[in-house]
Symmetry: D2
Subunit: 347 residues, 4 copies
């Protein structure tokens, strides 16, 4: 009879873009057609964002990217000043990044599994990847522990993610050397998770708020929106690098309109790149073109490019290209986290 150990054997390893100089390959793709040429153009636009001294760069993340081996890639972007703010789903940051920072792993699996049998073994499946459900429960409880330790009032997710970084700092550091939350904490790169209850942290909140029915920590995603808009107003010029769609894409596009509501004439996002397989024909936001976003006054159409590819293939090429072009070497960190220092970082 197979046991949990039989399934959780081969650890997912994160790709290291620093080891693969894809510049000549991606340059060649620029002379081809279809997705290859689109990918090349997207990589070039991302490099342009990095070169543009005036431009703040916002990375949006959706989809199960870190369990799929793209965590170190984002870590490298943060660490090398290639991104100034992150807007993400909760699962990526908590169930995957924080989870690995606690010392747990993701494992190679297969989509052709017997899910009822996996459930009996307490193994969760993400397409072709396995997770130890019992380890995830520890992650949930660690979230509850962090919330229990905080002053009971409404927080933006940015504040809470910063607390997660601090928790790692105060508990011997992350157990891995590529934690995105921890790197962002050290580099003052704010992380926003607009739907923060929709992940392991949500389970932490369930425990925390049930145990503390009257006075407890709450998450104010309106504050998230206000804070990200303040970053837009501070930076003026912005570029967005989007992986997948969902709330992170919509939320980040919307801050242009929000900025326009607070101060007339906020500029649109000057650069916009998205990697996605979503089909435009369902009319949903995740697949909506960047040209469509321009009708809303959110994205300029000069430097925008969508790339039709699953992220694990395209993102190492796009991000690797920008890394090896090296424009980040002359780029100063924007440290947008410091905009909010009085509230949280000084504590």
């Amino acid at each position: 009879m197979a046991t949990k150990k039989d399934f959780l054997k081969e650890v997912i390893q994160h790709i290291d873009i620093k080891k693969h100089d894809v510049v000549p390959l991606v340059d060649s793709m620029g002379e081809m057609a279809f997705s290859a040429r689109d990918l090349n153009r997207a990589a070039g636009i991302y490099d342009k964002m990095i070169k543009d001294k005036e431009c703040g760069i916002i990375l949006t993340l959706a989809g199960s990217l870190f369990s799929a081996g793209l965590k170190k890639l984002v870590f490298d972007l943060v660490n090398n000043n290639m991104v100034d703010a992150i807007v993400s789903t909760g699962a990526l940051m908590i169930d995957q990044d924080f989870f690995e920072a606690l010392g747990y792993k993701h494992y190679k699996g297969t989509p052709f599994s017997d899910d009822n049998f996996l459930r009996e073994l307490h193994i969760d499946r993400i397409y072709d990847t396995y997770i130890d459900e019992d380890e995830l429960r520890v992650c949930d409880e660690t979230c509850a522990k962090i919330f229990n330790s905080l002053e009971p009032h409404p927080y933006s997710s940015r504040e809470l993610l910063w607390e997660f970084g601090k928790y790692l700092e105060n508990n011997g550091g992350p157990k891995v050397d590529d934690s995105v939350i921890y790197a962002a904490y050290k580099k003052n790169v704010p992380i926003f998770v607009p739907a923060f209850s929709d992940c392991s942290a949500g389970f932490g909140f369930i425990i925390h708020q049930t145990q503390n029915p009257d006075k407890h920590v709450s998450i104010d995603s309106a504050k998230d929106f206000l804070e990200l808009t303040q970053i837009k107003l501070k930076s003026r010029e912005t570029g967005i690098f989007m992986i997948g769609g969902g709330v992170p894409k919509n939320f980040t596009q919307d801050i242009v309109v929000a900025a326009d509501i607070l101060e007339e004439d906020a500029p649109m996002h000057k650069y916009a790149v998205q990697i996605t397989v979503a089909d435009v024909r369902d009319g949903a936001l995740s697949s909506s073109t960047l040209k469509e976003a321009s009708s809303w006054g959110k994205v300029e159409t000069t430097f925008e490019q969508m790339v039709y590819s699953e992220a694990t293939v395209a993102m190492p090429l796009v991000a690797g290209y920008a890394y090896h072009k090296g424009s980040w070497k002359d780029r100063k960190p924007r440290e947008f986290q410091k905009l909010f220092t009085k509230e949280t970082v000084a504590s």
Copy 2:
């Protein structure tokens, strides 16, 4: 020179499933293959949920459904006790339902538009649909007005959506006869929007919190999660009818785990149906199969069915089938809103 009026001429009209008895058509589809047979099975499972006296039904909505003519359909589900709770994106409830309740409309457009020109005219585009940006700004401001009128403390989105219903009640009722927010208010069907700042309400919050920096309304999506979990614990048996994926899908699947954390042995969702075009091969949650959800202990595999179709085509067939089967006639409203009455509804 074309003006805004030239573009905003043909109003989108919502389909009325009551007028189309699709039962024989959908029954025929059950004898075919591919999506037709899947659609038939999904319709049958939805009808089973309605027949099952023990089962609470949660509808999850993502994608630009109401601007596309599916609003009255959801209104009819609410009004005829075919759904007991809704988990939705913010855009659907505020930018589209509340927006139309204020008397505004969506208009037929085309995906082959010059988006820069549309922007100059203050017209927003959703694929093949146009919206008057100036009317949306009024919607934003109305949200701010509602928030300004409330006691300044953290709210669940459910509480706020209820306040939107009350606002309509107190201001002469909605200007249309198919408002989902208003019907849900009258029928005590709670509506959850876990990423509530990610829509027109977010702009309202930006205004409200900027005007009231010290004391203001905030949204606590952790409370959302707790409340929806309480509904699960109350109902025990549940069925989910999902249109699109995104946060609403994930959030609603997760309450089984949340319930399990609060009380051992919460049952999985007994029935699950999803209409989506998302491709499973990107590994993201929106496209993840309901079988995969079963590895997480979220969904039972006996009565689950995904339908590969854009929602405007499949949803009238699935919902229309269940409507004309008539099992809802014997179904009592669950009025889950009353679970939380002491907090808000009594006010």
Copy 3:
């Protein structure tokens, strides 16, 4: 131990569009957005083709449509003068239509099968549909028998399909009342299969040509192209109703260019409708837009519409709409088969 019989129990039944008046439903879809509105427009264009007295209608078929229950639908189009020529894949005509005319059936299955076990049982799977491999072998052999009976020279596929119709006529008629090949034979609707060796007929040819190495029947798809072009030149105005893409789509679009090569100034296809889920971003012909075809001078852009839907759901709505609008009642059969009478039909 499961046997073949346990798997081949539930017969696929073909939808009867005559029984479902979908006109009000499809009309309602025209007031919505996204695929529903596209579907309505496509249905309207198909009806326009039927009303246009000058227009010859070519139906192109790709994908496993008849095994999925769409055979009687095409039969009804042929029988009611709603289509004047068919361009198809070989599998549809031989492995599926002729196969059922011989008395065999397709069966409901599931995509979650153990394919190695199915192979041992001689069961072939098409996604969620099962076929008896041994019955298919009889179909292969029947093809060989027909080829053995013919004068050994090159034939167009149109000529051969006509011979299949004649074979059914001379052998007691088809064993079903909805054979497309037989209806086309009786109604003088030519059927073209440009890649005719790529199906059960190919196996028949393998047997026939191996047994008759020196003198044998061969298939000349160049002749197909010439003949279909002659139909275009005869009809002048044409409309195309395309299900899926592939060779049938390309081949049929190309006859405009071929006609232009033979006689200057052949008109483009005046009407064009395609139902497909293929994604335009791979640059392939199957997904290429009808606007792109217009750059090639193949399709006019005034009355063209693509519908993003799997065929089993959309085709009954589009074809059913045109059937119940009834414009076909005033339409005379074009009997394009008679253009080639001297060669084959008289025999």
Copy 4:
């Protein structure tokens, strides 16, 4: 006013896999999840085919690959004994490879074109690529010229493709150094185009057969099927590397069944790899899984892998991986063309 020259300026350039050692990158992808890991596995299986001394390798090609910059890649596979037979669409071989061998080019364009204007300028568009329609007409006429020069009888497409190679040889060689047809001619790699009338050659046939109504060249795709089956019977072990689906995929999978009809117990394809974006849920052959093919007795399930990616991105990685692994260096050419020498090559 823009002229044709303004549009046909930037030439598509073919990627040179020899210049990009992607082995470390693709190896890293093998430790990730989703498409990256699938791509790694596919590359490994292709390398295994090359290493397997008993295995004949068949490459199937569908989609507009050569106009997109993948021609030199296939040229390199042929030239380095990494493929023993090719099954292709006609457009790839004639409209794209032979077209470029005549000295013409493909040009970078954009999907956001005014197709009516392009048509006026005699520019054909393939998604984001432009072609000079007048040059294509020269290609059509050259085909006619070749057919006019041949003995009038039925040919397999393989024989005709070989004649195209000979034509290039006898007319000063191709005007480019990466012609696939010419390399295959020199290396005795047979090329099959089962739907050969469905391309520029079809226009050549229209001209040829119209000018020579009584005695003319015809194409016998049944002979194609028989010949490819003979290769299977000769090689016994086979591996297939499929780009896209369509007729080339189906045709090549079917030869196992054909071989089984001619001689009992022909082995299934031992290795099978497919790169495609087609969605399995439409039930069509192009998207059908290799596991499904195994129910038909066509493909073994031990070494099969589908990769969900547009070809311009994935094919350089898969083929480049196999190239730089270098297993081809020890591989002898199979020269399957010589199986048929008596008929054509000796002439």
